[in-house]
């Protein structure tokens, strides 16, 4: 119950913020941070709960962005329809990658996700309707009813998406689905022998994770006013999407949230004070550091600290 009250509070606060006269840049930057929260949370449903490491987040996010674009261009559909279409297509992609590789060892799933990035990028580059290699420029609608600007509306939509993603992750984690996923991650053989339908659960996690990643990608074309394959399928996103839940902690839904907020802030800081290449290096180094020294992330460190101070 407290959780839902907190969610409502967040949405109300965001609504208030969006209606106020605060600098437009806040919403521009805030969109990026919120998108990071969705990506990290979505990744963790498959990576943290089930133990399958998705190296190809850009494939799903890119698929979401391009699906939204196609639906927008062909049907002039509103944003909500774009998001649903993106979620459906990316969710199906997740399911298909799962069907191919999830019966095998984890590394094959990971490589299959990298394969997906390249294949989708190649398809898009050769598809003139969506702009091919050069991409497309888009004009944003001037207003974002009921808010003052389109950017503010996108920000608000992202707040809702972030809250929804966290709520979904929390539901999965605390339900028997979450326990089943943990069981199959700990020992797939024992899970099968205790009645856990491991293949079904893995595919559900693949589909849900993929769908959320796609949904996060859907507003991108409108947010940027352009779309092109090289930035859409950029592998740098792949590392961030991995680093955030690992740094925050993979065992609990609050981990990706912490990781996303922390990493997004660090990235902003480094880009502004030093350089953008170094920003990317910092993410990689932090990832390796945490994986070696604190594999349970910040959540794990907190738990250990609580246990030892009893």
């Amino acid at each position: 119950m407290r959780f839902w009250i907190a969610c409502l509070a967040v949405v109300l606060a965001a609504t208030g913020l969006v209606m106020s006269g605060v600098n437009e840049y806040l919403f521009f930057a805030g969109f990026v941070v919120l998108q990071a929260v969705v990506l990290a949370t979505a990744w963790n449903i498959l990576g943290g709960y089930a133990g399958y490491v998705n190296f190809g987040v850009p494939a799903f996010v890119g698929a979401g962005a391009y699906s939204a674009l196609v639906v927008h261009m062909s049907l002039e559909a509103p944003l909500i329809v774009q998001i649903l279409a993106a979620a459906l297509i990316s969710g199906t992609l997740g399911f298909l990658v799962g069907v191919i590789s999830v019966r095998l060892r984890g590394i094959f799933f990971s490589i299959a996700t990298v394969a997906l990035v390249f294949i989708l990028e190649t398809v898009v580059i050769n598809w003139r309707y969506v702009g091919g290699a050069t991409g497309l420029q888009l004009t944003r609608p001037g207003e974002g009813w009921p808010f003052d600007s389109y950017t503010r509306m996108l920000f608000w939509v992202m707040v809702i998406m972030a809250v929804a993603a966290i709520a979904i992750a929390r539901y999965i984690q605390d339900s028997h689905i979450g326990r089943g996923l943990r069981a199959l991650r700990d020992s797939e053989e024992a899970a099968e022998c205790t009645g856990v339908p491991t293949l079904r659960l893995k595919l559900i996690a693949c589909a849900v994770s993929g769908a959320l990643l796609g949904a996060a990608g859907a507003p991108m074309p409108m947010y940027l006013s352009y779309i092109e394959p090289y930035s859409s399928f950029n592998l740098v996103y792949a590392v961030s999407a991995l680093a955030m839940p690992i740094i925050g902690g993979m065992s609990h839904w609050v981990g990706p949230l912490i990781g996303a907020l922390l990493l997004a802030s660090i990235q902003q800081l480094v880009t502004v004070t030093i350089s953008s290449e170094l920003n990317v290096l910092v993410v990689g180094v932090l990832l390796v550091f945490f994986v070696i020294a604190a594999p349970d992330g910040i959540v794990g460190l907190y738990r250990k600290w609580k246990a030892s101070s009893k």
Partner: protein, 291 residues
Amino acid sequence: MAFSFDLLLEAIIFGLLLGCFYAAVSIGLSIAFGLLDVPHVAHPAVLILGSYGVYLLGQYGVDPILAGLMLTPFFFLFGAALYRMYYETFEKRGNSAAVSGLAFFFGIAFIIEVLLVVAFGVDQRSAEAAYIGGSLKIDDLRIPYRLLVAFGVALFLTITLTVYLSKTFTGRAIKAVGQDEAALRLMGADPVRIKQFAFGLATAVNALAGAMLIIVAPVEPTMDRIYIGRTFCVVVLAGLGSMSGTLAAALILGVTESIVLMFFGASWAPAVAFGLLLVVLAVRPKGLFGR
């Protein structure tokens, strides 16, 4: 491009040469992942690192192949150290560290790529040698010398390693260590040291393969991404644990890529390796000769 048998033949020949090159580039992964079961997704990044090392030495006038040979001892040590770090931190922890182990190598690959960008920039770098530039002419066929050189060295590498792993004691121990550690221990051999040696060997091979890479084409730091596709495609298609299969699988990939390149254009070629990989995973994950 219109179809003609002449073009097909040219594509096949080119593809066979390319395939042999892919074999050399993948054999390190065949050892590290196929035999030792290490999720070494950083293998292509180390390969590119080797290419850049060769480039650097080339700036001082060192021939690429010689540079590759010079780098092998350093790469061997690097590989041995990397495995040791992986073993102490992850392999010991068992199944619970599977995610961390994968993330570790992914992070290492990424760090290598970024460091290369910081050090050398994003532009392409090439190597220079007498054999890079001219071509051999047979009838209407033009075969670039650099491909022939790479083909020769690659063939030599592949055959030497395959023979080493089947005929020598250490080689056979390496082949056995992935499957039956207990038996090795009973024979008095230390599986961890054998794995460390094997991983070092696989990384040392990468130095030479990296030289091959920069001879065949210019390199740039993000090339490790597509080589993840090519090397894993070869290793999976061959079948984990099969060294001789590596050459066959690489030739298949080389010819397929070459044909696609010839008849469908360069923009489709990168997807071939990844597409083939997905097909193999879906249809026959054991590969052609896997255990």
